[in-house]
């Protein structure tokens, strides 16, 4: 265990360089650069507000903030897992030639998406100011909300990256899975419109809890209940442990499949 930790510390510079690389390459040669991380959710929000706000006007008080809080979390999750999924395969060239702990690749991808998420948070604040939503002291709990989600996402990313090495179909399937997953998550609609008999689907969805946690802090200004905290911790830890286990068990076989 100590050995693993030492090895990780030795390569933390690489982790930072890889995250930096991703961010630099992503916005290189675009005029607005990193501002796109901020503009993207804003523009998405405008479209969604025009389309949906009339539909759910009654149930949702501040639709723009409601939507944005769900959207930035889910699009972080979907972007991070999608890129992390292919990261072992796309870095095959490097893995075959130099010794690097392989988990660096999926983790660096999740982290570079996480930097994006931090930028989109500015968009949330901007809209809160514009719509004159009240800021309560609970916004200082945002790091907690993000940490839960980050751990969960790292776990899922690790699992997917292992699976993709052995089954390339994952690339094609996952796009559809994530789309269905998005519609099963209350991002555009309020949870109240879900008929009781289907409520179980929502309750089985891990993303529901992370988003609920985040909205509790931002929209309602409440400190999330002990129960919600425990659920979030449990889900994220289970995901991380499963992800690390799947990775550890299979990583020596990667070389033969990439």
């Amino acid at each position: 265990m100590k050995l693993y930790l030492q090895n990780f510390l030795k390569y933390k510079h690489l982790l930072r360089e890889l995250v930096l690389r991703d961010i630099k390459v992503k916005y290189r040669r675009s005029i607005l650069g990193i501002f796109w991380s901020l503009l993207n959710p804003l523009m998405m929000m405008i479209v969604m507000t025009i389309v949906f706000s009339n539909l759910f006007k009654i149930q949702i008080e501040n639709f723009m903030v409601y939507f944005l809080t769900g959207q930035i979390l889910f699009s972080f999750f979907s972007e991070a897992t999608t890129i992390a999924m292919g990261s072992i395969v796309t870095n095959a060239n490097l893995i075959k030639k130099v010794y690097i702990p392989k988990y660096i690749f999926p983790i660096s991808k999740v982290l570079s998406s996480f930097v994006n998420l931090l930028f989109s948070l500015i968009a949330v604040f901007m809209i809160m100011l514009i719509t004159k939503a009240s800021f309560s002291a609970t916004i200082f709990l945002i790091p907690v909300a993000f940490l839960y989600l980050l751990i969960f996402t790292v776990g899922v990313g690790l699992m997917l990256s292992v699976l993709t090495v052995f089954f390339r179909d994952m690339n094609h399937i996952y796009g559809i899975v994530i789309l269905a997953w998005m519609y099963l998550t209350p991002i555009i609609y309020p949870i109240e419109i879900i008929p009781i008999k289907y409520l179980l689907f929502i309750k089985l969805n891990p993303m529901y809890y992370f988003i609920a946690f985040f909205r509790e802090i931002i929209l309602h200004g409440n400190i999330p209940s002990m129960e919600l905290n425990l659920i979030c911790i449990l889900i994220s830890l289970i995901s991380l442990v499963l992800g690390l286990y799947a990775f550890y068990k299979n990583q020596n076989k990667f070389m033969l499949y990439i």
Partner: protein
């Protein structure tokens, strides 16, 4: 006084050569049910035992597909042996395919830090070595140009300069450097000679027995995954030649 720096203990590597590669889930389950997944075992390395001492220049000779590169990959930790262990005392710099970790969209300057990190050096070390890397690779005028606009020779020069900027304990060289023009090659050789004089252990793989004889003190001959012979470089190379 001999100090062991690399110890290879009875290493074997087994590849499962599946007759056909299975890349889809459906195929996998169908075949699994029909029990059609067949593997042929292929032993790329078979019970190899070697010790390399500190400061040695050690050559590995053998025909194509004999397992030379596989052995190097085991020593540098890229491949885990199926059986046996490898003990390494020190840092390794692999000179296998220079510039494998470059990102073509980044500039040379940015790549120096990225590649340095891949080799396990932190930012401070790389900042310290920056000037030396740039001047050794002779790329002063192009340092802010994205690598995709570089010629292959320029990329190789940069790769060599980064890989050798921090003196490792063990240097692994796969096929002697055909880096850039003859002038730069001379520089490379000189740098390697310096390393030898400083007591860096070098593992050197080549088809050319001439180069092995010239550079190495000891050598190993590998054939079809078996260790045929270890010993004085001249003797091993001569034997290898006779059998060829």
């Amino acid at each position: 006084m001999k100090e062991e720096i690399i110890k290879v203990n009875g290493v074997s590597i087994c590849f499962n050569l599946s007759r056909e590669r299975i890349f889809s889930i459906k195929e996998y389950f169908v075949k699994r049910v029909k029990k059609q997944i067949g593997f042929e075992k292929f032993w790329a390395l078979n019970n190899i035992a070697l010790t390399i001492n500190k400061g040695e220049v050690f050559g590995i000779v053998g025909l194509n597909g004999a397992g030379k590169s596989t052995l190097l990959k085991v020593i540098s930790g890229i491949l885990k042996p199926t059986r046996g262990t490898v003990v390494i005392r020190g840092t390794i710099a692999p000179l296998i395919e220079l510039g494998a970790g470059f990102d073509m969209d980044l500039t040379a300057y940015e790549n120096i830090f990225l590649n340095g990190a891949i080799l396990g050096h932190d930012k401070k070390t790389m900042t310290g070595k920056l000037k030396e890397i740039i001047s050794f690779s002779e790329l002063q005028d192009f340092i802010d140009v994205p690598l995709k606009n570089y010629s292959s020779g320029m990329i190789a020069r940069l790769g060599f300069s980064i890989a050798t900027c921090v003196e490792p304990d063990i240097l692994i060289v796969d096929e002697i450097l055909a880096v850039g023009d003859y002038k730069f090659q001379e520089k490379c050789h000189e740098r390697m000679k310096n390393m030898m004089n400083n007591g860096v252990t070098i593992i050197f793989v080549s088809h050319s027995t001439e180069q092995v004889k010239q550079l190495c003190t000891r050598a190993a001959w590998i054939e079809k995954g078996h260790l045929k012979m270890v010993g004085d470089a001249d003797i091993v190379c001569n034997e290898f030649h006779k059998n060829e």
